[in-house]
């Protein structure tokens, strides 16, 4: 499997798109540091990139890559190699290269200018979102045979989690504002990886405001590391479950 990963990785890393992505992240982060001397404000600007651009690029690139590798996967499948191994190698290679692009793109300017307070939380959120959306892209890719359909589905996933879901949540919060919503809200947030990553950042950036949320439960949840652990574990589930589902489908898929 390692050999397989090595070769796929080699191929992706030579892909101009990943280089472009890395460069884009690097330039925008670098520019933000240049334009603003206040590092905590840089983090706020980068937050939008991490919560929107990273999921979008991850899911679209992965979907396109999967279809471009279709024949290659076919060729591998004609070799004496287990299907699960081929699938996992693809996932690992793609997620490693996307994460590398992200870490290098956003991390290098941070190293140059000094890592801001919430810098680690930002890198962690971006990394987890990369893993989750690569995983979702694989699911979209194995569900349909048609490349255009899969890209459409991927875009829909992205749009849903970045915008539509939050609009629904705001509507729910407004409609049921007379009820105790603390725990339901946590459940709602868990059902959206972008929200989870965002909350991980809120814990660093807006903890004072979050502490205004009533109830001892939330005091403990936000005040200790519990919040981070919780968000991380649910995000890991968001990586594993779509991946596991797509692997199941892939193992029985006709190519």
């Amino acid at each position: 499997m390692l050999r397989l990963i090595k070769y796929i990785l080699y191929d992706i890393l030579r892909n101009r798109f990943i280089l472009f992505y890395t460069l884009f992240l690097f330039l925008s982060t670098y520019a933000m540091f240049q334009l603003d001397s206040d590092t905590s404000k840089v983090i706020l600007s980068m937050l939008n990139i991490v919560l929107m651009v990273v999921p979008l690029v991850s899911i679209i690139f992965t979907t396109i890559h999967f279809y471009n590798s279709y024949e290659f996967i076919e060729m591998m499948l004609a070799q004496p190699i287990n299907r699960s191994v081929i699938f996992m190698s693809q996932y690992i290679a793609v997620s490693v290269s996307m994460s590398l692009g992200f870490f290098i793109g956003t991390g290098t300017p941070m190293l140059i200018y000094g890592i801001p307070d919430a810098g680690y939380a930002l890198l962690l959120s971006g990394f987890m979102l990369t893993m989750v959306f690569v995983s979702m892209a694989f699911l979209a890719s194995v569900i349909t045979r048609d490349k255009a359909k899969a890209i459409g589905m991927a875009l829909l996933f992205w749009f849903y989690f970045v915008l539509i879901y939050d609009a629904l949540m705001l509507w729910i919060v407004y409609t049921f504002s007379d009820y105790p919503l603390e725990k339901p809200i946590l459940a709602l947030i868990s059902a959206n990886p972008v929200d989870l990553a965002r909350v991980m950042l809120l814990l660093k950036l807006d903890i004072s405001a979050l502490m205004g949320f009533t109830g001892a439960f939330y005091r403990d949840f936000f005040g200790s590391n519990l919040g981070i652990y919780f968000a991380m574990s649910v995000l890991i589930l968001w990586v594993v479950i779509p991946l596991w589902l797509s692997m199941r489908i892939f193992r029985k898929k006709d190519l």
Binding site: L44, M52, L163, D195, D206, S208, M211, G212
Partner: protein
């Protein structure tokens, strides 16, 4: 330190007879542990103008009442232990000075406000350089004018609010000076009720269960250069006029009803050069009038200021707002206060004439802060793309934010504010 079974021993130092006669009103008593005559008896015996030195040791003396004008001073921090039963010192005389004593373990009671040092109708008291440990109330002044409480360390450890009294508690006093004390773990760190013409300076009041400073019906007071950090509900200043608040620091007061500072029914006061940092709510204002907020720093708060509609004629100017989740939120649409010439880190306007003042006004109330005001759990959506869009749209077409609440002359650069001299 050991306490043997021996009797307490008292040494009364008589000076030469002649000297003794000439200084009849300035006798000096020394009290040691294990001495024949105990502390209680000595203090009862001493008269106006006398000095009682308490030497190092651990004293379980029960309640001691001071009825004469004494100087009671500890040598090498003697421990007066209330054995979790008694009030330790009750002072009912004027001009008593207490210095350098470690008070410990007062009783707790839901009926009596048991304290380490309680002054009743005793004016001109000084309490200095004392340590108060695990006391119910610490220093308690009732109807006691012109007192000085300086450089004491107070710490209580109980887990529940009903097991705690206030650290420095003043009721119906005038001309008090509370200075350089450190109070921790009490119900209210410093409590003022009906206290006028007094000063609270350079104190540190941290991690108290309720308020770091609880201040009611107290007019013409100054409090300055104090630090209030991580108190359950922050600082409350209520029902008072002409209160002057300078150079204080309000930090890390977290909770849904926790404030850097709560102002309720305050008028004709000043809040100048204070620092509000990392609080859930920097200042919560209700029924506040004619008060000046100038050169304060609001940083990293959940809400820098919550301005209720019941406030009027206040002026907010030359303040710095940076890194707050929300700068100002309000529950009404009427604008009765002046917000001018502040620095807002969120301001995205421009300054074409380069006079240091932004050319377009800044609206400090964001749409989302109003949504959160109505539906608090919505805070969990903060910094989402949706909220970003909503706030952008609202900026272009204001629908629910008060249109006139704006800073007409926002500063392009933060003010240089020295928050603590």
């Amino acid at each position: 330190m050991t306490v043997s079974a021996q009797l307490y021993f008292l040494i009364v130092l008589f000076s030469l007879p002649g000297v003794f006669l000439t200084s009849a009103h300035a006798r000096i008593f020394h009290v040691y542990p294990n001495a024949k005559q105990n502390l209680q008896e000595t203090i009862a015996m001493a008269g106006d103008g006398d000095t009682v030195y308490i030497h190092q040791g651990h004293y379980f003396s029960g309640n001691i009442t001071v009825k004469n004008q004494l100087l009671i001073e500890g040598i090498d921090m003697p421990v007066l232990d209330g054995n979790l039963k008694d009030e330790i010192l009750t002072i009912a005389a004027r001009k008593v000075i207490i210095r350098g004593i470690h008070f410990k373990n007062t009783g707790r009671s839901s009926i009596n406000d048991l304290a380490a040092i309680k002054c009743l109708d005793a004016h001109g008291i000084r309490v200095e350089n004392c340590i108060l440990e695990n006391t119910f109330f610490g220093i308690y002044l009732s109807n006691t004018d012109s007192s000085v409480i300086r450089n004491n360390r107070l710490e209580a450890f109980a887990e529940n609010e009903y097991q705690l009294g206030n650290g420095i508690h003043l009721w119906k006093c005038k001309n008090a000076l509370i200075e350089e004390n450190e109070i921790k773990g009490h119900r209210d760190g410093i409590y003022f009720e009906f206290v006028t013409d007094s000063q609270i300076r350079d104190n540190i009041s941290n991690e108290n269960m309720r308020y770091g400073l609880h201040f009611m019906f107290s007019h013409d007071d100054v409090y300055e250069r104090n630090i209030f950090r991580k108190n359950g509900a922050g600082v409350a200043v209520m029902y008072s006029r002409r209160v002057h608040m300078y150079y204080n620091r309000f930090e890390d007061n977290w909770g849904s009803s926790s404030y850097g500072m709560l102002l309720k029914d305050i008028s004709d006061s000043e809040v100048i050069q204070n620092q509000f940092k990392g609080n859930t709510i920097g200042i919560f204002m209700e029924g506040t009038s004619r008060t000046l907020f100038e050169k304060n720093l609001f940083a990293m708060n959940g809400w820098a200021i919550k301005l209720q509609a019941s406030c009027d004629d206040n002026v907010l100017r030359y303040n710095n707002f940076s890194g707050n989740t929300f700068d100002i939120s309000t529950n009404g649409s009427l604008v009765l206060n002046t917000i001018d010439s502040n620095y807002w880190d969120r301001y995205q306007g421009y300054d074409l004439d380069r006079d240091g003042v932004g050319d377009i006004p800044f609206r400090p109330v964001s749409m989302f802060s109003i949504i959160v005001e109505r539906v608090p759990p919505a805070i969990m959506l903060w910094r989402s793309f949706l909220v970003f869009l909503l706030d952008k749209v609202e900026k272009i077409i204001p629908v629910i934010t008060p249109e006139n609440m704006q800073d007409q002359t926002p500063s392009m650069k933060p003010y240089d504010i020295h928050t603590r001299s």
